[in-house]
Structures are given as structure tokens and as C-alpha cells.
């Protein structure tokens, strides 16, 4: 008996391709035999069960998620309510990244070392450069917007031309820095913004002279205030064209169309920043050019209780003669005051206050609410009618002066930054 022959590759390929007789015979038999229909239901039911379960879970997923979130949130809230010790720091840490007051304290703490240093060394030398002098106020308490400090700070930012005249402004910057250091060093002084008001109360009308002991007290207060709190003058000012024209030949910083003169930088170029009317000076209740001899005498005799010393004074060239009221004591706590009246009209044409002792320019500027001088000259006649003014003959004693024509005020300086006399004048012309 022979072994049956195994199919070769071709016959196997025919089988795999479904072309063999065996395949045809098997398929003919298989096609008539199907799976019982009774098996469909249990199989399909078993297949549907997990799908339906997943659908139910899917349907409840969102509500269950929300419910779980609510439960967790309520639990956390109840914990927070029942545990205030836990709630406070967590809420503070989460809601307030930086405590505002603490932040302010941190910021405010920055200038404190400078202030403390200034208190410890009130006579510390002023910085020599203008940049340092401009930085100095920034380390102090910020001034109110209406304060001359604000204008000064603004000028330092908007007047880059100041750098061009750094050499000329160095002296003025040093003076301002010294004044700022003095302010910071004053242990009992009031804020700088209050200093002008205090001084104004002293000088305006000298009403305090009616008090039982007004003069020494006021004088002491004035001296203390002016020595210890001397904020720098503001630096921006539009010049008066007439004054500027008259001072064009002098080494002035004025120009015909108006100038901005900085005590810190000496030069700025922002015309019409501050209007500069050629207003009359005011001394106490008196308006220069309008007040009369009788009104002034009556005021001091009846309201202040000071008897004036009346005399005559001649003008610089001998043409003018003036009636003079001298209130050497008590009229002005800063020193002796002379009232000059037109000899014919008897109108108040000038008031000169001889300061005893002399004061710093910045202190006077702060006291008189002056912004910046229109002219800074040395050994030259002052004002629009200088030859006719009583102060014109004293240029030898006061080699320098500052003209604030917008306020009708002159400052006469015996040395740089040392004011020895204040003059109040009516408008020019």
C-alpha cells in the first residue's frame, strides 16, 4: 500500500484560493448550516449590557461631577467658617499678594535712611553736581502739588537744556541741596508744605504784634522756621518782556519773549509755563502803589500799637524825596521795616525790610511764595525805575539782587545765597 501523495504548492495555492474541489465541497455543505437563531439573543444582550451601563454612567457623569464639586466646596467652606485661624491666613495669602500698607511702608522706608542720615548730619555738605541736587528732594517726603517743590521737580524733567548750563547752575543746585538737607534735618520742623503758611501768618499784616509778647515769639518762630525749613524755590517762570528787555545787556538769563530761569539749572526753555504779570508787591495788608501814608500809619497805630518814626529820605539822584515810616521793632519779626511814600502823592512806593539776621534765599522765596527771579544780577540797577527807587542807591551794599517782578519783590543779597534785605515795589510804569 502506497503512501498518499501530498499536494504540491500549486495544489495548496488552489486550495488557499478556494479553487480546490475540497473547498467547493466543504463550502457547499457549510452554506447550509447556520448558527442557531436562539444564540443571537443572549449574545446581543451580553454585548448590550456594558454599552447600556456606559450610557447610564455617561448620563450621570455630569450631575455626579457637579454634585461632588458642590459637596467638596461646601465642605471646604464649612471648614473655613469653623476654623477662622485657618481661614484668615489662607484668604490673605490667596487674595492679597502684597499688603498695600506694608507695601507703602516698604516704599516709605526707602527714604528713611536718607532722612535719618540728614538728621544725623544736618550740616552735611551739599552735593556739588546739579544731578545730585535734583535727586535730593526725591528722597524726602513728596511735596504737595501746589508746592514750589512740584514745579521744581517738573522742571528737572522737562528742561534738558539745563544740562547745557550745568556749570552755571552748580552753585544754585548746591544751595537748594543744602536747603533740602536742612528741611530733612529739622527734628521739630513741620512738613515743608506748612512752612510757607506759617511764615505767611507771621508776615502778612503782622497781626501777631497785638498779642502780649508778639515780637520775640514771632521772631523766634520765624527764625526757627526759616533756618530749619527752607524748601528750595520753584524753578519755572515766564519772564516779563519789559524786564527781560531791560536786562538784556546784563549777564541775565532773560530773553525778550520770556525766559524760564531755574535756581537749580539756571536755564530752562518752556515759555508760558507760569504767567508772570508785573503785579504790584504786597506787604502785609498794603498794596504797593495803592496804600497811602495815612492808611499805613493808622494801621500800625491803631491795630498794631506801634508808633512810627517818620522822616524824610532823598532819592538816589536827589530828585525824589520820600516820607519814611520806620518800624524798627515789632512791625516785622524778621527785622526793621521802612515804608517809603511818594512825597507828593503820599502813596506807598516801597517797603524795605532789613533782615536781622540775614536769611537764605530759598527760605525767603518759600516765605514769600516766590517762584523764580526774573533777573539775577550783580552790581546793576534793579527794577524798571531803579534810579528813582530808594534801593537804587544801595547797590554798593548789596552786590547782588534778585527781581521777582511777577510779585513786585526784590531780594538784595550781601553774599551769594544770603538775603539781607527785601524790597516790595509797585508795578513798573
Amino acid at each position: 500500500m502506497s503512501e498518499p501523495e501530498l499536494p504540491d504548492d500549486r495544489e495548496l495555492e488552489d486550495f488557499l484560493a478556494g479553487r480546490s474541489a475540497v473547498s467547493r465541497a466543504y463550502r457547499a455543505d457549510a452554506e447550509q448550516q447556520a448558527a442557531p437563531a436562539a444564540l443571537d439573543a443572549p449574545v446581543l444582550a451580553r454585548a448590550e449590557a456594558p454599552v447600556a451601563q456606559a450610557r447610564r454612567l455617561q448620563r450621570w457623569r455630569l450631575p455626579m461631577t457637579l454634585a461632588a464639586s458642590v459637596v467638596v466646596a461646601v465642605g471646604v467652606l464649612r471648614l473655613a467658617v469653623n476654623e477662622p485661624a485657618v481661614r484668615a491666613p489662607s484668604m490673605a495669602d490667596a487674595a492679597m499678594p502684597a499688603h498695600p500698607e506694608r507695601a507703602r511702608g516698604d516704599l516709605a522706608a526707602t527714604p528713611e535712611p536718607a532722612s535719618a542720615e540728614a538728621k544725623a548730619a544736618p550740616t552735611a555738605p551739599a552735593p556739588a553736581s546739579a544731578e545730585v541736587a535734583e535727586d535730593a528732594p526725591a528722597t524726602l517726603a513728596p511735596p504737595p502739588p501746589e508746592s514750589p517743590f512740584a514745579a521744581r521737580a517738573g522742571e528737572s524733567r522737562v528742561a534738558p537744556e539745563a544740562l547745557l548750563d550745568k556749570k552755571r547752575s552748580a552753585t544754585a543746585a548746591a544751595a537748594e541741596a543744602r536747603a533740602n538737607v536742612a528741611i530733612a534735618a529739622a527734628p521739630e520742623s513741620e512738613p515743608s508744605a506748612a512752612a510757607p503758611a506759617t511764615l505767611a501768618k507771621v508776615t502778612d499784616g503782622f497781626s501777631a504784634a497785638n498779642s502780649p509778647a508778639p515780637a520775640p515769639k514771632l521772631r523766634s518762630a520765624f527764625a526757627k522756621s526759616t533756618e530749619q525749613s527752607a524748601p528750595p524755590a520753584s524753578v519755572q517762570l515766564q519772564g516779563n518782556s519789559a524786564d527781560a528787555a531791560k536786562s538784556a545787556s546784563a549777564p541775565s538769563l532773560a530773553s525778550a519773549r520770556g525766559v524760564i530761569v531755574s535756581t537749580a539749572a539756571a536755564v530752562a526753555a518752556a515759555p508760558a509755563v507760569i504767567p508772570a504779570p508785573n503785579a504790584p508787591g504786597r506787604y502785609g495788608p498794603f498794596v504797593l502803589g495803592a496804600a497811602t501814608l495815612a492808611a499805613v500809619a493808622e494801621h500800625y497805630q491803631s491795630e498794631v500799637g506801634i508808633e512810627p518814626v517818620v522822616g524824610l529820605s532823598a532819592g538816589a539822584d536827589g530828585r525824589a524825596r520820600y516820607r519814611v515810616l520806620e518800624y524798627a521793632s515789632g512791625a516785622d519779626p524778621r527785622g526793621a521795616a521802612w515804608f517809603y511814600f511818594d512825597a507828593e502823592r503820599e502813596a506807598l512806593v516801597s517797603v524795605a525790610v532789613s533782615l536781622r539776621p540775614a536769611l537764605a534765599t530759598a527760605a525767603i522765596e518759600a516765605q514769600e511764595m516766590l517762584s523764580a527771579p526774573m533777573q539775577i544780577q550783580a552790581d546793576a540797577p534793579a527794577g524798571c525805575n531803579a534810579p528813582d527807587r530808594p534801593v537804587a542807591n544801595i547797590t554798593g551794599r548789596y552786590p547782588q539782587y534778585r527781581v521777582y517782578s511777577q510779585r513786585g519783590v526784590y531780594l538784595l543779597l550781601t553774599a551769594p545765597d544770603v538775603v539781607s534785605e527785601i524790597g516790595y515795589f509797585p508795578p513798573c510804569g
Partner: protein
Amino acid sequence: MMQYRHGTLAAFEQLYRRHKNPLYRYLLRGCGQAETAGELFQDVWASLVRARSSYQPRAKFTTWLYTLAHHRLIDHLRCLPRQPISLSVDDDETPTPAALWAAEHERPDAQAVAAEQRLNIRRALAALPIEQREAFLLHEEGGLTLDEIAVVSGVGRETVKSRLRYALVKLREALADV
């Protein structure tokens, strides 16, 4: 299958309708008993339903399905004492001859020959060793290639070819006897 994995029951129904008859025959020819085949059939689909979440389309779905069926059938046969496969069910399911006006191959004499051939095929198939029978059924019912049969059976490709050759010899002899 991926659609069914994501919850589409209709996709499963489509798969089931496509594969239920070949799978059932594979199991019926493999175990030889309709009742056992029915149980195995349900077990295979149940395995498929359970494994749906981990199903990855790395191969044809048919290959995966018949792999499940092969494992289930082998597990069943291993639990049985060695005995020849019964052909009682197949004998009872002999189709009724068609009418006289039927086509030539359906005429009574032709149908008698065909019926005898199918009976011989069934007998010869039942007499094959399980390895050869499985290889033959995986190709005929599952439409698997040699490589796929090798994957399902866990043997080499040449082994599958050898098994098929031996199976074809015996089945061819069964047909020649008619």
C-alpha cells in the same frame, strides 16, 4: 470593533451578523456537538465583549476573533477525554432533496452524490487530527491566510502548510470515495 468599543451597539451587531455563521461552524466542526458549539459560541462572544476596552487594532478583527475561538476550543478539548468526534448532529442535518424541476446539480441523483460527498467530507474532517482540522477550518471558515493561521495556532507558517497538506490529502480521498 472600535466603534463598539466606544459604545456603538450597532457596530457589534454588524460584526456579529458577519461572523456568527462561520464562527459557529468553526466551533461545531471543532468540537462536533451542536450544544457544546453553542456554548462555546456564546463564550467567545462574551470574551470579545469583555475584551472590548483593551482591543487594539493591531491585526484583522477576524484574526483576533478566531484567536479567541481557538483558545476557547482548545480549552474545551483539553478538558475532554480523548474520543472520536461524534457525527450524529451532522447526520441529522442532511438536507432534504429538492424538487424534480430543480437544476441538474439538484436533481435527485446529483443531490445524492453531493450529499454523500458532504457526509464523507464531514466524516473525514472529523477524523482529522485537531491541529489539521483547525488549520483547515481557520482557512475555510475564517478566511485566514497561512500567516494568520500560524498566528492563531501559535505555530510556524511551514507547520501550517504541512498540516494543510495532510488535511487536504485525507479530504481529497474522502471525496474520491464517492
